[in-house]
């Protein structure tokens, strides 16, 4: 009788332990997915701001049509990439796609901001100044949200790869999540530093 009770207790303990691990993995996965929605919100806001800025700047930047078109083009492809990424945050392909599209957008945007710096009339325009401030803030928010997302993903991956968590993980198909890296384009590095004072 006693051995039976001991066996039942041990089995129950093990079951509770594994359920605990499973729940923890679920929690962490939801945490990083939620962290991605934070990025997504800011990305959407940036996509809304860019056309307004381009429209406002158009009148002044007749000679910079190329830059403006490049910005709009990069923005449109980034919108597509972010839609795909929002479908499956953490999947390696989607994250790479998004970070490349975002890198391209940041590159041309910083070029546009540098151009704006060169036109005092444009910089003095209240609407443009407001939009630039919003855009700068949104860029910062994106990068901070990305840090938070990467922290959440790292926390999840660490738990997922530990033993015996990895057993549970492979049993219930918890996939490795991919980090969202900042792709530093060459244009981004060479662009002059823009500061809004």
């Amino acid at each position: 009788m006693i051995p039976l009770i001991v066996l039942v207790v041990i089995l129950a303990g093990a079951a509770f332990y594994f359920v605990g691990i499973y729940n923890q993995l679920i929690t962490l996965r939801n945490l990083y997915r939620n962290a991605f929605t934070q990025i997504d919100i800011q990305l959407k806001r940036r996509y809304d701001l860019i056309p307004n800025l381009v429209e406002a700047a158009k009148g002044y930047l007749a000679h910079e049509r190329g830059t403006l078109e490049a910005v709009m083009e990069a923005r449109n492809s980034a919108v597509g990439a972010s839609r795909a990424a929002a479908q499956s945050p953490g999947s390696a392909a989607a994250m790479t796609g998004l970070s490349q599209a975002e890198g391209a957008l940041s590159g041309v945007l910083s070029k546009l901001l540098a151009v704006v710096e060169a036109y005092p009339d444009l910089k003095a325009n209240r609407t443009v100044a407001d939009l630039m401030e919003e855009l700068t803030s949104t860029e910062n928010k994106i990068s901070f949200a990305r840090q938070a997302f990467n922290d959440a993903v790292t926390g999840y991956n660490i738990q997922r790869e530990k033993f015996p968590q990895n057993v549970i993980a492979s049993l219930f198909d918890f996939k490795t999540a991919a980090l969202l890296d900042a792709v530093e384009k060459t244009e981004e590095r060479t662009a002059p530093k823009v500061s809004f004072t």
Binding site: N125, E133, T136, F144
Partner: protein, 662 residues
């Protein structure tokens, strides 16, 4: 950076708890010191009093009694000691508990206690907008909810603090000087520093320390009030004087002990908060820049309000520097802090201009001017209208002076009413009350329905009677005065207010110029963010041609109400600025009555036109108005409403010295 830098959230919270115990020990120590000093002082005074009486009394019996007392005198009388300590402990504890209770309401209560003004998350002022954005960024970076934001408007030096008991009720406060003097990166560094106080749990500790300090300093403050209150005349005698002096002694002991406690805890926190700020922003240059600017300006980070002394350990940098004893400073020296962030710092601060900064008005596009505007002398061929479009969005210093001149002409009590949201709403409503009896009846019915006034409709009537005599020139500045108070309203109240405004304006089915201006100014002021994200639907002149013609016609007629020929000339001058439209040869159309309603509709329709069209419209309107180089009041007002509605603000027109009227 700092060696004992705690790496994660839990380690920091644990450290905060350790500090909390240290603080409690400090408090007990402080009370003990105060009890000791006070009892000794009282005993000493008693000894002196008895001693002098024993040898100077002329009554032999009395002298004998005193001598008896002095022979049994000890400095440590246990009964007396326990009695005194109980009284002092009870007073200190109840003062502390009272203060902590008032601070329970959270960070906002502390900020308000120090005279700070809350900033709406939808602020439109560029500096405040930037602050709101920076705080939101840091909330993301540190992963906590966005705290409430406050500004100390009267403080011209660079400083900031965070206060609150829980993360959810935290408040971040920044001085006006920090807003004006720091650039974006530096402001971010300062705000990040404050965020790390929130996250590290220092903030809770610091707010508790305010309560403890209040208790410790309470007796001293009471003593000072007692002595300086004039209630102690010589007649009240020695005992009352002595009591006052004792209280002051206690006060000084308390303030030194309190100050020591402030610095013991605060200095460690500051290093840690600097380190965490860099961790959040990944940009040591911003924070270092802010510290350098503090070092470079003559008054550094000094806070003018003496109220703030009890909170000096909350601040970003030294708010009340101790003049002689640097070991009594609540913050580590600036140079040390900067060197940790920027090891190459040579100790030379950049020179900062400390000119008394002109207080910025809330709304930088004031209306103004009298019957006729005259443009500044125009040289050569350049058209005056070109000046106007180049003035778009850049108010000159002259404009500020002009609007301030107008504001000082307003009656004082009206200005006081405008300081509250409800009062400001009543003023706006009172401006819109019509003269016609039937119209008034309809407006009264509408006013009764609103919840904003909470039944105080009479205020609106008495105000409207007073304002009836006011010249039109003063009505719009009055509106501006009311605007900061109006923006305090929350989203729901704003909606109600705008609905009310709408029903007052449309009560008679007609719109006059004043109503048109009020409508657009308030609409734009209270719903600022709408425009930024408005989708542009109209790209070609064919979509808005009619609206533009209406606007230019209205302006041409406003300039020359009776002269048909001149009206046509002004109309043509305006239209010539938009060749695409002029090619279609539109005709001047203007009916006196329906006019402003039509203008309103035209503006409404133009709001979602592209920026290029809007700019062209403002340009055309300006040329129309300046065709004859003199601008009537109506013309100027209308031009400004157009500019405001289309979000290309114009500055008011500066009046030239005194050329003869055109």
């Amino acid at each position: 950076m700092n060696t004992d830098r705690a790496t994660n959230f839990f380690a920091r919270q644990a450290r905060a708890r350790r500090n909390c115990r240290r603080q409690l020990t400090g408090f007990v120590f402080a009370v003990a010191v105060i009890v000791l000093v006070t009892t000794l002082a009282i005993r000493l005074a008693w000894y002196l009093y008895v001693g002098t009486n024993a040898y100077t009394s002329f009554n032999a019996d009395e002298a004998y009694r005193y001598q008896q007392k002095i022979s049994t005198f000890t400095f440590f009388d246990p009964a007396f000691f326990i009695f005194m300590s109980m009284i002092i402990v009870i007073v200190i504890l109840s003062a502390s508990i009272y203060k902590m209770h008032t601070l329970k309401k959270g960070g906002a209560a502390v900020a308000k206690m120090l005279g700070a003004r809350r900033i709406d998350p939808g602020a439109t002022d560029p500096d405040e907008r930037r602050l709101v954005n920076v705080v939101e960024e840091m909330a993301i970076a540190s992963g906590i909810p966005v705290p409430q934001i406050f500004v100390l408007d009267s403080e011209k030096n660079i400083n900031a603090f965070a206060a609150g008991l829980e993360i959810s009720d935290a408040a971040v406060t920044v001085t006006r000087g920090a807003l004006n003097k720091l650039n974006r990166d530096e402001l971010q560094g300062v705000v990040a520093h404050e965020f790390s106080h929130i996250l590290n749990g220092d903030m809770r500790l610091n707010v508790q320390l305010i309560g403890i300090l209040f208790g410790i300093l309470f007796l001293g403050i009471a003593g000072q009030k007692f002595l300086s209150g004039g209630r102690v005349s010589m007649r009240a005698g020695l005992p009352a004087m002595a009591a006052g002096i004792f209280l002051v002694i206690i006060g000084h002991t308390g303030s030194i002990v309190g100050r020591l406690m402030q610095c013991a805890i605060s200095r460690q926190q500051e290093f840690l908060a600097d380190a965490s700020a860099v961790q959040f922003t990944r940009n040591p240059a911003g924070l270092a820049g802010a510290l350098k600017k503090i070092g470079g300006s003559a008054f550094g980070s000094r806070i003018g309000s003496p109220e703030a002394r009890q909170a000096s350990h909350l601040f970003f940098s030294e708010s009340h520097p101790a003049s002689w004893f640097s070991f009594l400073n609540t913050h580590p020296p600036l140079i040390t802090r900067i060197r940790l962030l920027d090891p190459s710092f040579d100790g030379r601060f950049p020179k900062m201009a400390d000119e008394p900064s002109v207080p910025k008005p809330m709304y930088t596009e004031p209306f103004g001017g009298t019957g006729h505007y005259r443009l500044p002398a125009v040289s050569g061929e350049s058209s005056p209208a070109a000046d106007v479009t180049s003035m778009v969005g850049s108010p000159l210093s002259g404009h500020l002076e002009e609007s301030q001149g107008i504001l000082t002409a307003l009656p004082q009590d009206v200005r006081e009413i405008a300081a509250t949201a409800r009062g400001a709403a009543s003023i706006v409503f009172a401006l819109l009350i019509g003269k016609d009896a039937r119209l008034r009846e309809q407006q009264t019915a509408a006013l009764g329905r609103t919840t904003i006034l909470r039944g105080e409709v009479e205020t609106v009537w008495s105000l409207s009677e007073r304002l009836a005599g006011l010249s039109d020139r003063l009505k719009l500045p009055l509106l501006e005065l009311a605007m900061p108070s109006l923006s305090v309203m929350n989203g729901m109240e704003k909606r109600n207010f705008l609905l009310m405004l709408h029903s007052l304006i449309h009560a008679d089915g007609k719109i006059n110029l004043l109503e048109l201006s009020v409508h657009w100014i308030l609409e734009k002021h209270l719903n600022p963010s709408e425009d930024l994200f408005r989708t542009i639907r109209k790209f070609s002149y064919s979509q808005v041609g009619l609206d533009i013609v209406v606007l230019i016609s209205a302006l041409a007629c406003a300039g020359h109400p009776s002269d048909k020929e001149k009206t046509q000339k002004a109309f043509d001058a305006g239209l010539a600025r938009i060749p695409e439209l002029a090619a279609r040869k539109p005709v001047l159309s203007f009916e006196e009555n329906a006019s402003y309603a039509a203008v309103n509709r035209a503006l409404q329709s133009l709001t979602d036109a592209s920026f290029k069209i809007k700019e062209a419209v403002v340009d055309a309107c300006a040329h129309c108005a300046f065709e004859d180089r003199a601008v009537t009041f109506e013309e100027g007002e209308l031009l400004r409403v157009v500019a405001l509605a289309l979000q290309c603000p114009l500055p008011p027109f500066i009046q030239p010295p005194l050329p003869d009227a055109a």
